[in-house]
Structure formats: C-alpha cells, structure tokens
Symmetry: C2
C-alpha cells in the first residue's frame, strides 16, 4: 500500500491504472476510520481491482464555529487499518494541495434539498462537501465511489451532483454500521464521555422502535415526530437539533409516515453533534 | 462524421475512444459556426486523433432579457462545416438532455474575477458557462479543449475552474480570428445591419492603435480608457457598456497600462452586444 500526498501524483497514478484497464473503487473519508469506513472498503475491494481511500479533513465543509481543528486525526493508525483490508492507495493531501491560495470554485446543489436538515443547521456544509467530492472524483477518476447511509442527506446530494454534472462513475450506497449496542458508528463518538455515550443510545432505540411500528401501518408524520421528540427528551443530556420524517428519495416533506419514508435525527450531546436515520 | 444527441451515447462513445487509446480534442460551441470556431477545430485536428464538437445553445448562460431564443441555429450547415474539417463527432443534445426536470447543480467561480466586466453586465452568465462546460467535460472526457481569446474572461474562467476542480484535461487558448476589415468573428455579427456593421469596425481600430501605442511605452490606465471611450463615442450608433484595462493573467485592475495588460471592450450596436479585446 502507498500513501500519496500530491494531487498531480495521484492524478498520474489514476491515468496509469486506467490505462492498464484496472477498475477503481474509491472511498472518500476524513480519516479517524471506524468499522463503518472499513465496511465501505471491504465492499470496494470485492467490486474493483484497486481500492483508493482518501483521508482529508475538508475545511470547507466545517462552519467557523465547528470542530474542524479538533476533528480526530491519526494517519498512521488509519493506514494500518487500510493496509489490512487490501487498500491499494491512500490519498492524503494537505489543505494547501487541495485549496491553494486564490482557490475560488465551488459547487452548489441549489433548491430545497440542500436548505433543509443538515443544510439548514450547517450553512455552507454541503457546498464544501459537493466541492471536495467533485475534486476528489476528478483527481482519482474512480469507476465506483462508496458512501454510507449514515450521512443520508450527503449520500443523496452526491448522487444528485453526479447525475446533474454527468460525472462518469457509479455511487454505491452502503448500510449504516452500528456498535453492538446500536449506536451508529461515527468518528465523533470518541468525543463522548461515558455518561454521554449511554444517553446517545436513545437515538437508535427510538428510530428502531418507530421503524418497527411503521412497518405494517401508517401514521401522521407530525405526530410521529412529536412522539420521537418526547422520547428523546427523556434523556436529559440530549438536546434535539431536528427530528424529521421525509421522503427517502428526495427528502421532500411528507404528511403521512409510512414505507418509503426516512426518519432523520440530529442531536447535541454536550459539545458533540450526532446524526442518525432509518429508512422505513 | 456522426451527430450524437444523447448524453449516455456520447458518454459511452468517449469511454470506447479512451479504451482504444485515442487522444480526444474538444471544441465547445453554440453553433452558428464561423471561421473563429473552424480555426479551433483545425488546431484540435492537428493535435488529437479524434475531434468532437459540441453544438448547444446553453440557456443557463443567457439572462432572461437576452437573445437565447433568437440566437442563430443551423445544425445542417454547421455539420457540413465540421465534416469538411475532419471533425469525428458532433454532440448536439437537447436542452432537456442537459437540464432534465429538477436539475439543480451549479458551479460558481466566486470572488472578484467573475463579478467584473461580463460578469457584472451579465449576472449569472458565468455560472451558466462554468456549469455547462464542466458537464460537457464530464460527458466527453477530452484530453484537450479549445477556447478562443475573443471571449477572454470566459477563457480565464474556464482555466481557473479546471485548475480549481482538478479536471484532468488541458485548456488550449487560440487567437481571435477577424474579418478582413478587422471585426472580430462572432455568431452575433449576423444581427448587424450594413451601417451597424461599419460602425462596429471602430472596436478593432481603437484596440489595435492603442496596442501599437503601448508597445514601447506605458500610460496611465484610466486616461487611456477615457481616450478609447472618447474615440468610440465618435460613432453615434455605438453605445459603450465598458472599456477596461486590466492585468492579462487574472483581470485585476491596474494603474498603469503596459505590456502584460489586456484591454477589454463591450458595446451595444442597436440590439446587438459585441465584445472584443487585445493583449498588449
């Protein structure tokens, strides 16, 4: 396995691999790898000749008051994990490699879709995500790119961008991986203290019980949201950002909660922001 | 020569050509082809195995009050011209192929650079240009793309986008082609009546004489702009939009007109808007 830090080097390598007819699977990450990331890599390994993982904490997707600086970084440990799975290359550029002085091109997915949920709570977040993902796609030129359903709105947004801009690759969406007690894997989970970690379990518990209760019946979406909010509020350490039931394809609001909906939740636990979701 | 109308078909073809190791030169146009376009195609023919020309009047780069609808269209004549030069493929998609219902992804080059000159006079114009050019690059995946210096700000903008987004191709800039009397070739020249056509000559005349006068000396940029404005104003049919002297690399304002500057002019003649420029 090789670690590549220069854009030009990565771009040349991609050309060589394409020239040899190798199929390329790409897993974009911000490092601090956990089982969720590893599951994407294993899937990519199965479906492609070569797997490339990017590790880049992208400053343009963090707000000024967000955790870009303290976001966990450990390239050595990440590289060991990648190596075990059979990743061929890690692309780990510096911020200056990706955004040199005078950088000024940004991609916006306009309209409702990016202005709700995460887009509303984190203004500019998706502009940063779309831009860095498009750059990484152009640098690496993969045949397939793997994204987790944990960041559900991001997954839909990347799919939309790829479709709109005719980027020639396939987005593969992969299920959320959870700890044995149900907490969705996230690099931010390390921020949680022991008590906080315990209260975070409420997210998966309430999403899972709601999913089960909606499997064979329908319900008023607003009432169902209120019910979820009420249950989460019983955990004193958890502060709700949003709880919303929306259409799973395009996140448009729905009146009735039923099959084909997605329930999306964002909360603060202390200084840590967690998101989770479940598709019904 | 083949005319291709579907995005998916063009994308598949590009893959096949790449697989065969063919180098691909791309000339994006809005049709109504003239000698300026043909010079780009000839250069592309020389430097690549296969030449692909796109013909697409891109609605997103026109303002609501602009000439998108009446913009000249003649695919049959354009195809004949392309064929003579040895173009391999024309990509001529419909508006709906390029912007299907629900389309919402746009590329912005932020900052000064797009807010001056054409960007100021035509709000949203460069957002439309950047977006359609990125789409065409993704669909056609050329090794080289050819742009004329006539649309100088557009040329710089496309170069900037390619650099910022790491799009893996080379932008080749080609000199402005002029009629024998000096008028810069433009698809919009056909709008001009005989008298208008004559008064349009003032643009090249004043740019050319200024270029000569600045070849071996320097001058105050504001004074030089005023001098140009004065000369153009002698033509009663010509209404000035802007006359500006700027740095040729990034269009930043300059105090001194000298080598390394570009003089950019936009005027209205009747209902027709013309632009021209000269690099000193």
């Amino acid at each position: 396995m090789r670690i590549i830090k220069k854009v030009s080097q990565m771009q040349n390598l991609a050309k060589v691999l394409h020239g040899k007819g190798k199929s390329m699977g790409f897993v974009p990450t911000m490092g601090a790898l956990h089982e969720g990331h590893l599951s994407l890599m294993r899937r990519a390994r199965k479906e492609n000749d070569v797997v490339i993982v990017s590790i880049f904490v992208n400053p343009t997707q963090f707000g000024p008051a967000e955790d870009c600086r303290r976001y966990p970084r450990n390239l050595k440990k990440d590289a060991e994990l990648c190596n075990k799975i059979g990743v061929g290359y890690i692309f780990a550029p510096s911020v200056n490699e990706m955004y040199p002085d005078g950088y000024s091109t940004y991609i916006n997915i306009e309209g409702n879709f990016t202005e709700v949920l995460e887009g509303k709570s984190r203004p500019g977040h998706f502009r940063g995500v779309a831009t860095v993902v498009a750059k990484l796609f152009n640098i690496i030129q993969p045949d397939r790119a793997y994204f987790g359903q944990k960041d559900y709105q991001q997954l839909l947004l990347v799919k939309k961008m790829v479709e709109d801009l005719n980027i020639p690759l396939k987005i593969i969406s992969c299920p959320t991986i959870r700890e044995s007690d149900g907490l969705a894997m996230s690099s931010r989970n390390v921020y949680l203290g022991a008590e906080e970690r315990k209260s975070a379990l409420i997210l998966n518990q309430v999403l899972e019980s709601t999913r089960k209760s909606l499997k064979y019946r329908i319900a008023d979406a607003r009432r169902m949201e209120d019910r979820i909010i009420k249950i989460i509020k019983k955990e004193p350490k958890v502060k709700i950002d949003y709880v919303e039931i929306r259409d799973w394809k395009d996140l448009r609001p729905v009146k009735i909660a039923r099959k084909g909906c997605v329930i999306l939740v964002a909360v603060w636990i202390g200084k840590t922001r967690l998101i989770d979701n479940v598709i019904i």
